[in-house]
Assembly symmetry: C2
Homo-oligomer: 482 residues x 2
């Protein structure tokens, strides 16, 4: 039976269903993922949260390198005149810029933007480096911090400073650039679905929603349990806009000078917010094994009798599995097993392995997976194999149950009335046919208080635009969004 | 024989001996390690240079984790009032701070420092997290960018923005904090000597040279070929100064409130500058295998006859060694072997493996190690073993030859005259006895135009202070410094 302190530990989190917003903040703080910083809109990513980011980095970085990209580092500061070179770009970002106006003891003659994104500074360097078609493609990525002056902020989801990666590439042709933009969209889909176990819809953004300065923007969109969409990553075909603005020219093999075609693409620490919201429950976090800082926690069940034996056996188990998995042996004596169960459930550790005096007699251990599929008794001899199998199961179970939720929250609508009725009943994605006009988009946004999320790629079905009724092959997802 | 273009490739670098400063800049630019950014005092770390940093990060991070540290991330911005809480600290750093005064469309009521170091922001969080002796020690490290408004800058060595890691720890006792500070000093010595192959002197800084706000500062100091010292990393026992300034208190097991003892320690991208200067030669960079982005380059020698066979054999060799080493197969057809030799020597690749038609007949490959020990013919059957052995030899040879240089440039002096004569003849470290007084330190600095570098730990020999003649057990290294 839990004692009073243990009850209190759980009681402190609001219910996910009844008070989603408070639940989210409580889990972030209590699982020690992040904390509020004493700087407007900024957060501190605590070690447990940062380990999730490190695992994300390592899994993404491997994919970037496998697709031929290299990392580099460009300056934090961007002179104001550089930001202004691409007209749409500066219009899109300047309301969000933090400005350095003083350095040491001097006022600066030109103020410096703290990078809100790095197209401007990176393109200025590319114009120096790229001379010949032999220099193409340029395939560079950067891991760094980004600052955007936000009015309202929430831990991980929207913060003044956040961490991200930004890929910036140059290509000889428009087709190559689009191929790259879609390739990296697919890298993101693969990463988010298979490592983070978050199911997605994805596709192209509408003109009004694309990145300032891009030809096309592609995005991945996850659906949170409150029915709101969360844009989880973007990939842009930048066309020749930045090449022209920054005078990046290469001599092609036909001996004429040309502007290369660019892309950029990014994923941020915001994804950690999506991870928490997608999988968490009333006991706290639930982490997919592939991304979890601790995949397995071993808790020896101590009664003050045979404790030495139990601790020795727990250590033996630890040694068997630590080579292949991220394992923590919680042999602290100052906490009860119940307190430890609560703590590690709060922290979302995928698998708890319990071992007590009775288990030793039966030559077994107890598995308690965090996916809710219930206690399992495992023969000690089968421990190693069973651990591998159950972690795969947990990963799949988390993904499949999230996918079921996503599917249940995608509806279709062919009239505004149907749209509003459906989104009222089941908040989520509403898929509609759309003629592609800005006017119809505006009317739909206005009358549903939702925003266009993305246009799935490779569509072939015909239907009628939800607003004007014109025949079209374009469908698009709408939702309320973070 | 090299053709004209090849000669030109080499000719473009000044001699290291005759024009050290230009040689350094040329190598950085031509090996594509870094480039000047269009922002005052900032640099771009290009992919080849960044890979060195990634290797450094991975080798250091492993050591931090093995010594029990975790990574986290704290905000880039520090409110001015926070910097001011520790009096020495603000005095030391405020002349170098870049200030954000405007965010979005509003002037800030309190300006924000772009972190010149993170003690202030991190300690403000620790005061929230640390309550009990059970919360100690706190062992956190951060990898991030840092900004210090420098008047004169040089690529890697001194830039307005640089990358580093900063460890920030808290302990119950002064002894524990000092143990930690010295433990991390030793981690740095191990890393720099054994991975980067740069020999060091190390020890404690004098009072006047210590970190603003520290009780003690320890440093590692490398000697550059021009006889100037380069401070390559520091570790500070911060005492209770920051705990008191930021009101970090813990309830000890004797039920009284106490201030914990802090440390901080850091190594920066500046180390890459030391790496270049220590090992490079008139052909360019020379990289120790353990840190080199490419450890081995395979160059097929193509004469337009049997080329397919040679390329096939080069690929075979590549497949044999790529699993265990970082290998690049340079099978580009548009460049001559001579051009490739020059390029990879410039980039400092430790081992070149050549394979031509004659070598195939003899079932051999040619090893050309970058340490200058000369061509070796290796039986193909012994390839794998030989690669492993020669990389270890190259690592040792680079370290030993740098160590010989360092030893030859350490002198001792017992009078000012002897000091100035010796440093005039062989610029380097001069070791002197010192009574420990500020007055004698000032006089020595003044009369030699050098600075105190560090006081070796655990000294036992007696001698007379070089200035006042008082008997003392303290020796100290002086040098001109970067």
């Amino acid at each position: 039976m839990p004692n009073d302190k243990e009850k209190e530990f759980v009681k402190e989190i609001p219910s996910k269903k009844d008070n989603f917003s408070d639940w989210y903040t409580s889990v972030v703080l209590k699982a020690e993922l992040a904390d509020y910083a004493p700087v407007r809109g900024c957060m501190v990513i605590r070690p447990y949260g940062y380990k999730i980011w490190e695992n994300m980095q390592s899994l993404l970085d491997r994919r970037f390198k496998e697709t031929g990209h290299e990392n580099a580092y460009f300056p934090l500061f961007i002179p104001e005149s550089f930001l202004q070179k691409e007209a749409e770009h500066v219009k899109g970002f300047s309301p969000q810029v933090a400005w350095v106006t003083r350095g040491g003891d001097e006022d600066l003659t030109e103020r410096l933007a703290v990078r809100p994104t790095s197209e401007a500074i990176i393109c200025s360097m590319y114009s120096k480096w790229v001379k010949s078609y032999r220099d193409l493609p340029v395939l560079i990525n950067q891991w760094c911090n980004i600052v955007r002056w936000e009015k309202t902020t929430r831990l991980f989801l929207r913060t003044t400073e956040f961490l991200w990666q930004e890929g910036h590439t140059l290509h000889r042709t428009r087709e190559e650039a689009d191929e790259e933009a879609i390739k990296m969209l697919n890298v993101y889909v693969d990463f988010v679905e298979n490592e983070m176990a978050i199911p997605l819809v994805y596709g192209r953004k509408t003109e009004s929603e694309k990145f300032p300065g891009a030809l096309h923007t592609y995005s991945i969109e996850a659906l949170m349990p409150d029915g709101q969409a969360l844009q989880a990553g973007t990939s842009h075909n930048l066309g020749q806009f930045f090449s022209k603005a920054f005078d990046i020219k290469y001599l092609d093999d036909d001996n004429t000078e040309k502007f290369p075609w660019g892309t950029s693409w990014g994923i941020t620490t915001r994804m950690i917010g999506a991870l928490i919201m997608t999988h968490g429950d009333d006991k706290g976090l639930r982490l997919p094994p592939r991304i979890a800082p601790v995949q397995i926690v071993i808790v020896p069940i101590l009664f003050g009798k045979d404790d030495d034996k139990v601790i020795a056996k727990a250590k033996e188990i630890y040694e068997v599995i630590r080579k292949d998995y991220r394992v923590y042996l919680d042999d602290r004596l100052e906490y009860t097993p119940g307190w430890k169960f609560n703590e590690w459930e709060m922290r979302g550790v995928p698998l708890r392995v319990e071992i007590g005096p009775k288990d030793i007699l039966k030559e077994q251990v107890v598995f308690v997976p965090r996916d809710g599929t219930g206690k399992k008794f495992i023969k000690e001899a089968e421990l190693k194999d069973s651990v591998g199998k159950i972690l795969i199961d947990i990963q799949n179970n988390l993904f499949n149950s999230a996918k079921q939720v996503l599917r249940s929250k995608i509806s279709e609508a062919s009239t505004i009335e149907e749209f509003n009725k459906k989104i009222g009943e089941i908040p989520g994605f509403i898929k509609v046919f759309w003629c592609g006009s800005q006017q119809c988009e505006n009317e739909l946004i206005d009358k549903t208080k939702t925003t266009p999320r993305c246009i799935p790629l490779d569509q072939k079905i015909k239907g009628k635009c939800i607003i004007c009724g014109k025949e079209t092959e374009t469908t698009i997802y709408y939702a309320r969004a973070y």
